[in-house]
Each structure stands twice: as structure tokens, then as C-alpha cells.
């Protein structure tokens, strides 16, 4: 048994911030060993000691999955607006501006075409580094356009999900992205397109309850949190301890909602493999 096997999920700390703190060394949140940062990064952002999968942003994901120099980014000129004039402790435009500056992108989804071990595909990756990968109008639109592009060009579609859920600041419009993306997938499905959904830590809320759960093949990274409601909401509702491993990839696979749990080091191979079986 590994050191973490006896712990419940609540005790396994995931990094509070999606961004790993700067510095040469960092402590692995899973096995607690001090890890040389560069080595961790060269290891696809996984702990060299325990293979803990650190959260990564969309750009890094694309670097890891797509054959070098084959990625052609698309739809990156789409910008969010503030249709609701949403104000909480901060205004939404203010939040957006800060996120855009930090993430160097207009919103939280990178998409385009590329090759995976020589197989052409449309790829869309949600970006956890942009407002926790929340789905607003732009994320919904980019995912939808990616689906439509795959439909048009008869290409396999891969969507890598990671999301805190729908974006509250766009309220109803963000909710409607669930219907929009799912409707586009219905058309893609009718045309016989292959859609591989990759779930990474964390995939929750409206993203899970729409395109993330609609893959022909659903692959999850190890120990990723996957669910509709967040564990805290569930705990508050039912007022009891959650079972060990609850809502983690392996558990969700056992429940029957994930086809394969695949470590990051194998993800590229597995995507190519599924495309060879099911792609056109």
C-alpha cells in the first residue's frame, strides 16, 4: 500500500491555487516529498516519487498531447463580455481583465487542430488557470465551434475538461452553454464522429453535466475529482462522511461512468489507440 492509500479524499490536499508556487523545489501535496521542480515538469508535471498528477493549464496540455509544431490554434479571438452587469465583491470586467492579463488569453478554452502521433484531430482544452476553468459564453462557444469543425471536416474530436463548473457571472447564459454544446454533440454523433472526452482534476458542475459526460469514449486521469455536485455541497446536504475515494476517477470508473483511467504518461498513446479503433 502506498502512503496515500489509507487516506480519505478529504485529507489528500490538492494545491489551493492552480498555479504552482515559484521556486526550485516544491512539496508534493500527495506524498509530501520535496521535488525538484524542473524534474517534475520534465515528468509531464507528475511527481517523480508518487506519480501525483499536478494540475496543468491548457497550453501545457496541448504541448504534451499534440505532435510538435502541428497545433493550429483557432477561435482565440473570442472575448467575453459582461451581459448581466454582474457585480459581487468585484465587478466581472475587472475580474476578467486580471485573469486575461495573467493567463495571456481572452478566456478559458484553447482549441484548434493538430496531430496526435500522426493522427489528425480537433482538440479543445479547458484552462484551469482562467477562472477555475469555469464555463461562460466563450468557453461554450469555443467548444461548440470545435464540435462543429470536427463535424464539418470529419475529424475525431478530443475535449480535455477541467472545470469548477458553470461561470456564475454569466448566469443563465452560462447555463445555456450546456444545452448548446450538447446539441452540437448530437449532430456530431448523428454524423458518426468520434468524440473522446478526457476528464482531468477537477471536472465538476455544468461541464460534467454536459459535454464532458457525452464522450463516445471517456478517459480520466488518475485520482481526478469528477462529479456533478462538489463534495462540500454533498456533505452539507447529507451530513455524513463521504466514502473513501468518492468522486475520484477510479471510483467513478467503478460506478460505470468512465471507460479508462489513464496516467498522463500514457495519454497520447491511448488517444492514438482509440482513434485507430474508432476514428475514420
Amino acid at each position: 500500500m502506498t502512503q496515500t492509500a489509507n487516506r480519505t479524499w478529504t485529507e489528500v490536499k490538492t494545491p489551493r491555487r492552480a498555479v504552482i508556487p515559484e521556486g526550485l523545489w516544491l512539496r508534493c501535496p500527495s506524498c509530501a516529498s520535496m521535488v525538484y521542480r524542473k524534474q517534475m515538469e520534465l515528468n509531464l508535471h507528475c511527481c517523480p516519487e508518487c506519480n501525483h498528477h499536478f494540475r496543468i493549464g491548457a497550453d501545457e496540455r496541448i504541448r504534451q498531447l499534440v505532435d510538435q509544431d502541428t497545433f493550429e490554434p483557432m477561435f482565440q479571438n473570442l472575448a467575453p463580455s459582461d451581459p448581466l452587469n454582474f457585480v459581487d465583491l468585484k465587478g466581472y470586467p475587472e475580474r476578467l481583465a486580471a485573469e486575461q492579463k495573467r493567463a495571456k488569453a481572452l478566456d478559458g478554452c484553447r482549441a484548434g487542430t493538430g496531430f496526435i502521433k500522426g493522427r489528425a484531430a480537433v482538440l479543445a482544452c479547458l484552462d484551469l488557470h482562467f477562472m477555475m476553468g469555469s464555463m461562460g459564453s466563450v468557453v461554450g462557444e469555443i467548444v461548440t465551434r470545435s464540435i462543429e469543425l470536427a463535424t464539418e471536416r470529419d475529424l475525431p474530436l478530443i475535449v480535455v475538461s477541467c472545470s469548477g463548473g458553470a461561470r456564475m457571472q454569466e448566469s443563465g447564459l452560462s447555463l445555456m452553454q450546456m444545452a448548446k454544446t450538447s446539441a452540437a454533440l448530437a449532430r456530431f454523433d448523428r454524423k458518426g464522429g468520434l468524440y473522446i472526452s478526457v476528464l482531468t482534476d477537477p471536472t465538476t458542475g455544468g461541464v460534467t453535466a454536459s459535454f464532458a459526460m457525452l464522450g463516445d469514449v471517456i478517459i480520466a486521469e488518475p485520482k481526478a475529482l469528477i462529479g456533478f455536485a462538489g463534495p462540500r455541497v454533498i456533505q452539507q446536504t447529507i451530513r455524513q462522511e463521504l466514502p473513501e475515494g468518492f468522486q475520484r476517477s477510479e471510483y467513478v470508473q467503478e460506478s460505470g461512468f468512465v471507460d479508462r483511467v489513464v496516467p498522463r504518461s500514457q495519454l497520447r498513446n491511448e488517444l492514438a489507440r482509440v482513434i485507430d479503433y474508432a476514428g475514420k
Binding site: 490554434p73 482565440q76 479571438n77 473570442l78 472575448a79 467575453p80 463580455s81 459582461d82 451581459p83 448581466l84 454582474f86 457585480v87 459581487d88 465583491l89 481572452l106 459564453s137 466563450v138 461554450g140 462557444e141 458553470a166 461561470r167 456564475m168 454569466e170 448566469s171 443563465g172 447564459l173 452560462s174 447555463l175 445555456m176 452553454q177 450546456m178 444545452a179 448548446k180 450538447s182 446539441a183 452540437a184 448530437a186 449532430r187 454523433d189 448523428r190 458542475g205 455544468g206 460534467t208 453535466a209 454536459s210 459535454f211 459526460m213 457525452l214 462529479g227 456533478f228 455536485a229 455541497v233 454533498i234 446536504t237 447529507i238 466514502p243 468518492f246 460506478s255 460505470g256 461512468f257
Partner: protein
């Protein structure tokens, strides 16, 4: 009648009702007012009763025409507010309930069945919150489980097969957040409904009758036309949920602010293009006159269905696709 007055902003009405009751008792004691014989005393009291009644009527109108978004949410949750089964009783004939998802069980939080509305044979799908304590617990207060969503889809496919239009009544705080619900694939059940509803080759009408809480609401609302009752709410998250996350605490002040920001009222959703129609409720909201509320819904159904039935199935689902495809606020900038 006391449970009518649970809402803080209705306190002026409660006070007026008390005064009317007192004045009416006085009037009775003074011998009442009639064309033949009325004491000057009785006449005076009689006109006071009339004045109070008029004031009450006006106050009711005033209160309900100036509700904040948070107050609307409270009206939408009113314990006396008509629910799916009430509307089935009030506007459907010959309801033939169909139970179960044929996979796991029968979720009482989701009601499905054949019914007749006007000249139409339809399939009804709706969230049910429950009225008695026992019923509320069985229905998880209107929070459906995956088997509820799968039951809804199974019956909707039945409707498609036999070309029955589908009417859905949306009334849920959200899909149930629990261990079993997650283990049985709450997210998959909703996602599957969204995809399949977009493709059902029969007309679909949805009415948000009370609460339209997030994915749990949308899971039966991918429709050709969507209407909201005047005092219903529809949003990606409840005001309390939003306040707890963005304001770090849920209390009256933050709930009010969150409800305002979320633009969850019927008028807001209409403006944002999320719904097509606001159905006007009787004065003082649907719980004061459920029959009138049902009549208003029926009228909308009777106008909308023939318009949709004129379209062939390909056209119908193409338009449904375009309806949702157009949603969102996206700006195309010149470059990335």
C-alpha cells in the same frame, strides 16, 4: 390562511386583513348594511370596510409590482405555490401517469404521463416538490435523482415515437447532490437529456413554474419554446449558493445582492433571450389563484403548439438547434 403570509414583504397585507376582519365583526354587531335598514353607525363602519378592502387590493398590487429579485425567489418557493401535480389537475384531462425509468426505480421528484390539453394529446414531464412533509421528503424537495432524469427521457422518447408533443414543468432547486445520485451518474443523466432533447422529433414546450435551478432544471428544458411564470426564477445557481461562493457567506444582504446580480427573474431571462415568454400571474402571484395561473399557462400552450405542429420534424429540430446555438455573449475581436 396564515401560511399565505410567510413572506416578510407581505406584512402590510397581513395587517390590513386583520383590520378588515375587525371592521367586519364590528359591522355585524351593528346590524350590517342593507337597503332596508341601516343604522348610521353601520353605514359608517360599512364604508370603512369598503375603504380597507380597496386599500388592501391596491397594496397587494403595489407590493407585487415592486418585488426585488430575492423576493421573487421567495414567491417562487412559497409553500402554497402550485406545483406540477396541481397544474396537471387544473389544466390536463385524463392524466395517465407513467412510472419508472426501467433501469433503477421510480423517482417521485419527476412526474411523467400522457394527458389531454384542449384538443391535444401530450406527454407531461415535470419536477414535483411535494406538499405534505412526507411527500416533500420522498421528492427530496423537488431535487431529482439520475433515475428521475432517465425516467423523463424514456417517456420523452415514447412521445417522440408516437408524435405526441411534450410539455415540461420546471420546478427544482437543482438536481439532488448526494452519494447515490453521484454514483448513479447524475451528470451523465443530465448531459444525456440535454443531447437527446435537442434531437427529439416532436414539439417541446417548457414552463418554469417555480424554481429553475441550474442543470437540474435545464435537464428537462431543452425545448422549442420556453416560458417562465412571472414570479419564477431561472439561473445557473441559487442566490444562496452564489452568495456563499462569491460573497463568502449567505445572509439576507448577500442573497439579495446575488439574486440581483444573477438576473434570474422572468423579465431578465426574457431580455437575455433565454426564454420566449413571460406568463403573467394573477395579482399577488399564482398561489392566490392557481386556477387563473393554470388558465394562463393553458392559453400559452394552446397558442404555441399549433405553431410548432405546422413544422416538419427536420425543420423543428433545426430551429431548436439554432435557438440554443445563438445563446451566449461573445465578442469577436480582430485578433487573439
Amino acid at each position: 390562511m396564515s401560511s399565505f403570509y410567510q413572506l416578510e414583504f407581505e406584512k402590510p397585507l397581513l395587517e390590513l386583513d386583520r383590520q378588515i376582519e375587525e371592521a367586519e365583526a364590528d359591522l355585524k354587531r351593528a346590524g350590517g348594511v342593507s337597503p332596508e335598514s341601516s343604522s348610521p353607525d353601520a353605514l359608517a363602519i360599512g364604508s370603512r370596510v369598503d375603504a380597507l378592502r380597496a386599500r388592501r387590493a391596491q397594496t397587494l398590487i403595489d407590493v407585487y409590482s415592486n418585488l426585488t429579485a430575492w423576493e421573487v425567489v421567495q414567491v417562487a418557493r412559497h409553500p402554497k405555490r402550485p406545483q406540477t401535480r396541481d397544474y396537471i389537475d387544473l389544466l390536463c384531462r385524463d392524466f395517465c401517469e407513467l412510472h419508472g425509468d426501467r433501469r433503477f426505480g421510480d423517482d417521485p421528484a419527476m412526474v411523467t404521463g400522457f394527458a389531454r390539453i384542449g384538443p391535444h394529446r401530450v406527454l407531461i414531464v415535470g419536477h414535483q416538490k411535494g406538499r405534505t412533509t412526507q411527500e416533500k421528503i420522498a421528492c427530496h424537495f423537488g431535487c431529482a435523482h439520475p433515475e428521475g432524469y432517465r425516467k423523463a427521457m424514456l417517456k420523452m422518447k415514447l412521445a417522440e415515437k408516437f408524435r405526441l408533443p411534450i410539455i415540461t414543468f420546471v420546478d427544482t432547486p437543482g438536481a439532488y447532490p448526494g452519494i447515490g445520485a453521484e454514483e448513479r451518474g447524475q451528470a451523465e443523466a443530465i448531459a444525456y437529456n440535454l443531447r437527446e432533447m435537442s434531437d427529439l422529433r416532436t414539439p417541446i414546450l417548457s414552463v418554469v413554474i417555480g424554481e429553475g435551478g441550474s442543470g437540474g432544471a435545464l435537464g428537462i428544458a431543452v425545448a422549442d419554446r420556453v416560458a417562465m411564470m412571472q414570479y419564477a426564477w431561472y439561473s445557473v445557481i441559487s442566490p444562496e449558493g452564489c452568495a456563499a461562493i462569491l460573497w463568502k457567506q449567505a445572509n439576507k444582504t448577500t442573497n439579495t445582492a446575488a439574486a440581483e446580480s444573477l438576473k434570474l427573474t422572468a423579465a431578465d431571462n426574457l431580455r437575455l433571450g433565454i426564454i420566449d415568454r413571460v406568463i403573467t400571474e394573477p395579482v399577488g402571484a399564482a398561489h392566490r389563484d392557481p386556477a387563473a395561473a393554470a388558465k394562463a399557462i393553458e392559453q400559452w400552450i394552446l397558442v404555441s403548439l399549433p405553431e410548432l405542429e405546422r413544422l416538419n420534424a427536420d425543420e423543428l429540430i433545426a430551429r431548436r438547434y439554432d435557438r440554443f446555438r445563438a445563446m451566449g455573449a461573445v465578442t469577436e475581436t480582430a485578433s487573439a
